[in-house]
């Protein structure tokens, strides 16, 4: 109180002699005004530039670095990209190649990247606030349109903003995109790309219209409760249903199912009962079912492909009559299935279905006891099916496919934090939200319907990366910077052969004219590449060209007529118009030319490191075996392939060696001599070697 009074008194005194007081406050005002420039002078970025000078002082390359250094604020200004990046003001040594050994931030060098920093700036990839010149504002700002710096493990998301096609250097991003398509994420969530196309799913959820023909209500119940308990590799997620919900949904699905003629088949009693497990297993192997279907082996490891469902306990799931009918003609039950139509005999059908029926899991249904369904349960089940959006993936009679069941994710990578709900204690950043949402979709509150997937941490990171690449910036960047995703064309083969190819589902594995799978070689120019006799023989009894692969072309038991039809079609239609099949002779090369070719093969070009010509001595397993290449491939194709493999098959790993015409001709001569008569050993012995690199490998 007393001090207050003193203050008051001095205040009044101040006004008693205003001129003197004015003088004093003028000085004070000047001092106060001088603080602002002083504060400016001691700014953060000056501090960091000072630190940089101190750092390079003691280095050997100091004179060069000092010459490069310019004091002041630096910026990259790219109006077309909306970039004003002042990062280089503090990150002074980003482009100094000689600073590779510096680990201290902010002075380390930027790793080598395919783009120039001057053309792209920093925030286009790393996010953050480029305009800022203080550490906190540059890195942690959440003010629109700025975002905090992207954590390094999601860096590949930056590439995905322009590169909508897969890149070699971005395995995480590629995997994430593949998972988005494969796990049906895009069936509930729309993901539109800047070019207007939408991401397409690659999974094949079966229709449930005739489900009662196929399986039992008990199995549906167990599957709904936990798909992973039936098959560890199930892509169906867990909807975390209560017992009652699973009971009612299964009741509805069974009641809603209509039987379809031809979905059940009974075989002659003899063939079914006399099924020999060993014979069935070998037929399973010979038909190369494992190319697409996986099965758990005795050691508990999954062996086989993932194109079709896992068959470890298929006996517990499907009804024997249905299984037989399915194996006889899968298209009757599901017109859109990827399963080829094998031409099995009744005896083979018996063997195979017997073998598959023996694959059971007795624990699965042990505790499932369901009372007959009541109409209320069925009605409730239908409600639940609508609530959980089952029809977004599965065709269900009477339940329309919901449009945009889940939120649109086309720009989820720029979602404002204000629109997100975080749980207590969760760091408020977009990557954290996304990865948590993928890992534990239901922790964000009641009433959420997104199911629980079983992803590994690496898969979660990959998915988060792929989602983070879907940014607003992606839409605002100039169109010429966008590299479109390689989409599927709508090609379908025509005519009778076309029908046959559809029936055999060739395109599930082979790509033709931009349509089809990538498990097996592209057949667009097969007619220019191979010789007719070889193709005919191959279709009759396909043997492997790549002993290192477990995936094989199955034998479809084609009739002679079917085979001829297919061969004719391929040889006539799948021709590259630029290739003249007769430009190089198929034989009749001089011995010295062949010998020269041999020397080039083993010497100059060392082809044997990847290919096998002499099965005794060569050990190259990367590329296809060439023991019979002379009877398989057309000479002109070989020649052109040697000259420039990427031109014939973009993306093949076969290196372009820049061969001279003479070298290529000599090598062609040598290779056409490899007729491989009698050396056709089945590759079964080496089939245990498994590689995953099947994409785009040359024949």
């Amino acid at each position: 109180m007393r001090t207050l009074k003193n203050c008051w008194n001095s205040w009044r005194r101040l006004f008693g002699d205003p001129i003197r007081a004015f003088g004093i406050t003028s000085v004070l005002l000047l001092i106060a005004l001088a603080i602002a420039p002083a504060k400016d002078h001691f700014s953060e970025w000056r501090h960091y530039q000072h630190g940089y000078l101190k750092l390079i002082q003691s280095r050997r390359d100091a004179p060069v670095l000092e010459r490069h250094f310019q004091a002041g604020i630096h910026q990259i200004w790219l109006p077309k990209l909306g970039v004003v990046d002042r990062c280089e003001t503090c990150h002074v040594g980003l482009t100094e190649t000689s600073l590779g050994d510096v680990r201290m931030e902010p002075y380390s060098r930027h790793p080598a990247i395919p783009h120039s920093m001057q053309q792209f700036g920093c925030v286009v990839c790393h996010r953050g606030q480029g305009a800022a010149t203080t550490v906190a504002a540059a890195h942690d700002s959440t003010l629109a349109p700025n975002e905090p710096i992207l954590p390094a493990r999601y860096d590949e998301a930056a590439c995905g903003q322009c590169h909508h096609a897969d890149l070699e250097g971005t395995p995480t991003l590629n995997q994430g995109r593949e998972l988005l398509a494969r796990y049906g994420c895009v069936r509930c969530h729309t993901i539109k790309l800047p070019d207007g196309s939408a991401m397409q799913p690659t999974d094949a959820p079966p229709p449930l219209t005739h489900i009662a023909d196929k399986t039992t209500r008990e199995w549906i119940y167990a599957w709904l409760k936990d798909p992973a308990s039936y098959a560890a590799s199930a892509t169906m997620p867990n909807f975390l249903l209560s017992d009652q919900e699973a009971r009612d949904i299964s009741a509805f699905l069974m009641a809603n199912s209509v039987p379809k003629p031809g979905d059940t088949a009974s075989l002659k009693a003899t063939s079914a009962t006399n099924a020999d497990p060993a014979a069935g297993a070998s037929l399973y192997g010979e038909s190369f079912c494992a190319s697409c279907h996986a099965m758990q082996n005795a050691a508990g490891n999954l062996v086989g492909g993932d194109l079709g469902p896992e068959l470890t306990a298929v006996g517990t799931k499907v009804k024997p009559e249905w299984l037989t009918a399915w194996l006889r003609d899968p298209r009757n039950y599901d017109a859109g299935t990827a399963m080829p139509h094998y031409r099995f005999t009744d005896a083979q059908l018996g063997l195979l279905s017997g073998f598959l029926e023996s694959k059971t899991n007795s624990d699965l249904l042990a505790n499932v006891h369901l009372d007959p369904a009541t109409p209320e349960q069925i009605a409730h089940g239908k409600q639940l099916v609508e609530v959980y959006g089952c029809a977004a993936c599965h065709a269900i009679r009477g339940v329309p496919k919901p449009d945009n069941y889940g939120p649109d994710l086309s720009r989820v990578g720029s979602k404002p934090l204000a629109q997100l709900v975080f749980t207590a204690g969760m760091p408020r950043t977009l990557p954290t939200y996304l990865s948590n949402k993928i890992e534990h979709p239901r922790i964000f509150g009641p009433g959420l319907h997104m199911p629980q997937f079983t992803f590994t941490p690496a898969q979660v990171d990959a998915l988060t990366t792929a989602l983070l690449s879907l940014t607003d910036r992606s839409y605002t960047l100039p169109a010429k910077m966008q590299i479109a995703a390689v989409g599927q064309s709508s090609y379908t083969p025509a005519g009778k052969a076309g029908e046959l190819m559809t029936d055999l589902n060739c395109m599930a594995c082979h790509r033709i004219n931009g349509h089809g799978g990538d498990m097996a070689p592209d057949l667009s120019w097969e007619g220019s590449a191979v010789q007719r006799q070889w193709l005919d023989a191959f279709l009759k009894n396909p043997n492997t060209l790549r002993p290192a692969l477990i995936r094989r072309m199955p034998r479809f038991n084609l009739t002679d007529q079917e085979r001829t039809e297919l061969t004719n079609y391929i040889m006539t239609v799948y021709q590259n118009p630029k290739i003249d099949r007769d430009a190089m002779p198929q034989s009749g090369y001089s011995a010295e030319m062949v010998e020269h070719g041999r020397q080039l093969f083993y010497g100059k070009y060392a082809c044997q490191s990847c290919h096998i010509v002499d099965p005794v001595q060569d050990r190259g397993y990367i590329g296809p075996t060439l023991t019979d290449v002379g009877s398989r491939l057309n000479a002109e194709w070989i020649y052109l392939w040697l000259k420039n493999p990427q031109q014939l098959r973009p993306g093949t790993i076969e290196p372009n060696r820049g061969m001279s015409d003479d070298d290529a001709r000599a090598l062609t001569a040598f290779l056409t001599m490899q007729k491989g008569a009698g050396s056709r050993k089945s590759g079964a012995g080496v089939a245990s070697l498994r590689t995953s690199g099947t994409k785009g490998v040359g024949q």
């Binding site: 009044r12 006004f15 602002a36 420039p37 400016d40 004003v84 002042r86 305009a131 800022a132 010149t133």
Partner: protein, 271 residues
């Protein structure tokens, strides 16, 4: 030291140059000091003499003076800020960022402008209430009170139009909320709203419109009204002296009982 400064100062004031600018000349006589006010275009709107009592801080709290002070600060900082500002979308926002991060003392300049603006609104309100409670609105000062109210509205409009200029979320939504009120005016609400924003939404047109209002029209209006306001102080008899506060029932002045219907009356007379 001090004497040397004052000697030099005196010499300066006696010089021909000084005398050609300040006609009042040197000297400390009442005449000279009156001339200093009268002969100056800016100061002549003030009275040459003030009652000593009114110079005490607690007489006026200097609220009017301080409001003028904030206005001057706002004019100076505002002109400096105009050098760095483009009234266009979205450049306006990026100019804020540039002020913040690259312009020397730009952040300080913007802070000073912003805080002074808030201070001016606050001081203008305080001035209003202070004048009211002192009774200084009474005749003959009615019109100056009205001018004061208009000045308060101009101050609010100045602050409000300036609010949009940074073009951030705060600005955009504050103006959206505020301008939506205008569409509630019966019959012509939508038209007023459109006129105010130059469109149906807050957009680049609204920004330009607010910029012109904020930097040209409203400051000019304010300057003129302030001049009138000060002029009227002088013409209405100087700062209001608190001598006619309600005193009717002060016990020591009236002997009669409380129920008498006495009123205090004042007669203002001019000689």
């Amino acid at each position: 030291m001090q004497s040397r400064i004052s000697t030099n100062l005196e010499r300066l004031r006696a010089s021909r140059l000084w005398n050609s600018i300040f006609r009042s000349g040197s000297g400390t006589s009442t005449l000279h000091r009156s001339m200093a006010i009268q002969q100056n275009v800016f100061l002549h709107i003030l009275p040459t003499k003030v009652r000593r009592r009114m110079l005490n801080f607690d007489a006026t709290w200097y609220l009017g003076t301080l409001t003028l002070g904030t206005f001057l600060v706002l004019v100076i900082t505002g002109i400096l800020l105009m050098f760095y500002y483009h009234p266009s979308v979205p450049q306006a926002y990026f100019d804020m960022k540039d002020l913040r991060y690259v312009v020397s003392s730009g952040l300080f300049l913007r802070n000073l402008h912003r805080w002074s603006a808030h201070a001016m609104v606050l001081l203008a309100f305080a001035h209003l209430f202070r004048v009211f409670y002192r009774g200084a609105y009474r005749p003959p000062r009615e019109f100056n009170w009205v001018v004061g109210i208009i000045l308060l509205l101009v101050t609010l409009l100045l602050s409000y139009t300036g609010y949009l200029l940074p073009w951030d979320q705060l600005a955009f939504w504050a103006i959206t909320v505020g301008s939506n009120i205008s569409s509630a005016v019966p019959f012509v609400g939508q038209k007023i709203h459109f006129l105010l924003l130059g469109g149906n939404l807050v957009n680049a047109n609204a920004l330009l419109r607010f910029y012109v209002l904020h930097c040209v029209i409203l400051p000019l209006a304010a300057v003129m009204l302030i001049a009138v306001h000060f002029w009227r102080i002088r013409k209405d008899g100087g700062l209001y002296v608190q001598q006619s506060e309600p005193v009717a029932q002060c016990a020591e002045e009236t002997a009669g009982p409380a129920t008498t219907e006495e009123t205090a009356e004042e007669v203002m007379a001019k000689p």
